[in-house]
């Protein structure tokens, strides 16, 4: 094995890949060759560093220097200055400003975004090459599988996971150990395990990043689960929309086979286990376990009533355990370090850490992993850096289309499964979307309802018809045709859908409406009674006009208007907007340099 003096790690997650990190990778290799350094320095593609906002990110070890917003053109400079001459390229270095002293913080461990995080599931993301099984093994990979197979009985594995307090990270928070116990207790020797990688919440990318950054951890977690429940075949159900994750998983499966860590007689213990990928077409409902099972069997992805639960009657009619990606990402760590260690992290009823995909109106968009019990305020302000452009925070949406909004009042709630439900939202799979004063909450509810109407499979009437009626009422309200009675009607229908829908998708679909009605009823009322959208989002309720006192007759607005709705004579006559023609796109407002365009 050649010895390198320096490792250059280039993020190859989806976010950074979209900003051409593969071009950066190639440029490094080329440039190193040019300087004759290719035998001394190696370049590695790695998983998500988490700080997607600052991507593409490049890390240099052992110097522990992180470069952000790197472009292909910057590579030459990093090589010639840093790698060749040892001078850090300061202008590209990731830094933070100390709020008190205004000094630059360059130590990666002291940068706010990372300081409050604790990485268990994501521990290898951004550290190892996900396409190299040796690097995973170097980080104690597959040691937990070896330990479980050679020193523990299946029941001991289940007991350890139960004692750790691990709960399903897909959102519902069911005890993972209990789930495994149910399947293990079933008679018969044909059993299955499934990894649910059908991540579909708008704005969520935790599972994708974990699969891209550390695929072997998921394979190892699945193998341990299979041993515990007595299964010999596993499926990873992943959406075809995640091409990088699919590719890395397949590489990982092939490598594990080559090393005998999957296949027959693993660790010479007589335990056989194999994993197959099943690609989904991206239907949201297939994240629901019974629909997922139907889809794996080649049927249309529609849910079935429970019971029977999959633990008794799952894929091919046999006992099956389904766990989420992140849940499985914790399993090897629990076996390696023990349930006592794991359960020492977190709150009384929610142990361990949770990964969140932080997005929306927030400075540091990205992937964060925090111990349970961290408050929303710490995530949004300390890690996320607050709302950009000095806008005021309005709400944070967790749990995607099944969850709800939380406001300023709830920001000091320590995050765990039970607290979030008590506050009117839910943990969900980990999408966290921050909204500021420019977001209209009626519009947000409408967005989620449109998503649900698209994704409803149509099998049961409450979800198929009920959500459509809800969307119609919401649309009327945003167009200024709502009535106060509608609010009560909507609320009543919401509860009816919750009580009667077949699966989790329908049962939780009304949550975004209920939660916005609860916290932001005044915004609904403003739309209905005053025919106004306070945030200035709902186009039907807006009019644009030009203040003649402020207009400098520069014609900028008229030249930028896409529909020629603005008339006037440059230099001579103030400009006017024809409200019949106006499509309310706001281009005139952003193009006017004198603030003469007003929105009412």
């Amino acid at each position: 094995m050649p010895t390198y003096r320096t490792n250059i790690l280039v993020c190859a997650g989806t976010g950074c890949s979209a900003s051409n990190s593969s071009g950066i990778y190639d440029a490094f290799n080329e440039s190193l060759k040019k300087y004759g350094l290719d035998q001394e320095v190696c370049v590695i593609k790695t998983g998500c560093f988490g700080l997607c906002q600052k991507g593409p990110i490049v890390a240099i070890y052992p110097d522990e220097v992180f470069y952000c917003h790197v472009k292909v053109d910057d590579v030459e400079k990093i090589v010639s200055e840093h790698i060749y001459k040892g001078r850090v390229v300061k202008e590209l270095q990731l830094s933070d400003e100390d709020l008190l002293t205004h000094e630059k913080i360059l130590d990666i461990n002291k940068i706010k975004f990372y300081e409050k995080q604790q990485r268990i599931a994501l521990r290898n993301c951004g550290k190892i090459n996900p396409e190299d099984i040796d690097e995973y093994i170097a980080m104690d990979g597959y040691a937990a599988l070896g330990k479980a197979l050679t020193t523990m009985t299946p029941q001991q594995v289940i007991d350890e996971v139960k004692a750790s307090g691990l709960r399903g990270r897909g959102g519902a928070g069911f005890s993972t150990g209990m789930k495994w116990q149910f399947e293990a207790d079933q008679p018969g020797d044909e059993k299955y395990v499934i990894c649910n990688a059908d991540e579909g919440d708008p704005g969520a990318f935790m599972d994708r990043s974990l699969l891209e950054g550390d695929p072997h951890a998921i394979l190892e977690g699945m193998a341990i689960m299979a041993y515990a429940v007595g299964a010999h075949q596993g499926y990873i159900y992943i959406r075809a929309e995640y091409p990088i994750a699919v590719q890395r998983l397949q590489i990982a499966i092939d490598q594990a086979h080559k090393y005998g860590l999957l296949g027959k007689n693993i660790f010479n213990t007589g335990f056989d286990f194999d994993i197959e990928l099943r690609l989904g077409a991206g239907a949201f409902v297939c994240g629901e376990e019974t629909a997922l099972i139907s889809s794996i069997e080649g049927k249309r992805g529609m849910p079935n009533p429970k019971p029977p639960f999959p633990a008794a009657h799952g894929v091919w009619g046999k006992p099956t355990s389904i766990n989420n990606v992140e849940t499985l990402g914790n399993v090897a760590q629990i076996i390696n370090q023990g349930s006592a260690w794991y359960s020492s992290i977190g709150t009384e009823k929610s142990k361990g850490t949770k990964v969140f995909a932080l997005g929306g109106k927030i400075k540091n968009t990205g992937l964060v992993e925090i111990p349970m019990g961290t408050t929303l305020r710490e995530i949004i302000y300390d890690i996320g850096g607050g709302c950009p452009n000095n806008k005021e925070f309005k709400a944070v949406q967790t749990g995607g289309p099944s969850g709800g909004c939380l406001t300023e009042k709830e920001l000091d709630t320590p995050i765990d499964y039970d607290n979030l439900i008590a506050a009117g939202s839910m943990m969900g799979s980990g999408g966290m979307i921050v909204m500021d004063e420019d977001n209209c909450m009626v519009d947000v509810a409408k967005f989620y309802m449109e998503f649900i109407c698209d994704e409803s499979c149509g099998k049961c009437t409450p979800c198929r018809v009920g959500t459509k009626r809800l969307l119609e009422m919401l649309t009327k309200i945003t167009e200024g045709e709502g009535t106060m009675e509608m609010l009560d009607e909507m609320e009543k229908l919401c509860y009816e859908i919750k009580d009667t829908a077949l699966c989790g998708l329908g049962q939780t679909a009304p949550n975004p409406i209920l939660s916005t009605l609860h916290h932001f009823r005044d915004e609904y009322i403003a739309h209905i009674k005053d025919k106004k959208c306070p945030a200035g989002v709902c186009k039907h309720l807006l009019t644009y006009s030009i203040n003649p006192d402020k207009c400098r007759k520069c014609s900028m607005c008229a030249r930028n208007c896409p529909v020629d709705a603005i008339s006037g004579v440059a230099g001579k006559e103030v400009f006017k907007i024809d409200t019949d023609k106006c499509i309310k796109c706001g281009t005139c407002m952003s193009s006017c340099r004198f603030g003469a365009v007003e929105r009412h």
Binding site: Y61, D134, G146
Partner: protein, 126 residues
């Protein structure tokens, strides 16, 4: 792979690939690699250090820096311990580099005769 021992062997071998990303080493060995350092022969020194440190599993990271500022003494190698105490070695060549690793990192003994103090004394400046 048929046993935990096989896995452990593979792990120990693979660790060399990734350990520099882990931090937490006893010593940090820094080579001055600005233009003047390179001209004076810092590159073979760095390569020697990297090679030997890996072969002998010395508890240190080898890294580089820009101009240290003592150009007439280059190539320069500085050794920092965990408390950031610093020893500066001057006029280092690959041979001296191996001795520094062996004695300073391996045995915890400073190689006094290669330090900047010794050089200054010899020049009558101290």
């Amino acid at each position: 792979m048929k046993s935990l021992d096989d896995l452990k062997k593979l792990r120990d071998e693979a660790l060399k690939k990734v350990e520099m990303r882990e931090g937490g080493k006893e010593y940090r060995v820094v080579v001055g690699m600005a233009t003047s350092g390179i001209a004076a022969g810092a590159r073979p020194v760095l390569n020697q250090l990297v090679k030997e440190a890996a072969e002998n599993n010395y508890n240190c990271v080898i890294t580089q820096t820009g101009d240290i500022g003592l150009n007439s003494y280059e190539p320069i190698v500085q050794v920092f311990d965990k408390d950031n105490n610093q020893v500066t070695y001057v006029h280092v060549d690959p041979e001296k580099a191996s001795r520094i690793l062996k004695e300073h990192i391996g045995e915890g003994k400073i190689v006094e005769e290669y330090t900047v103090d010794a050089a200054e004394k010899a020049n009558g400046k101290l």
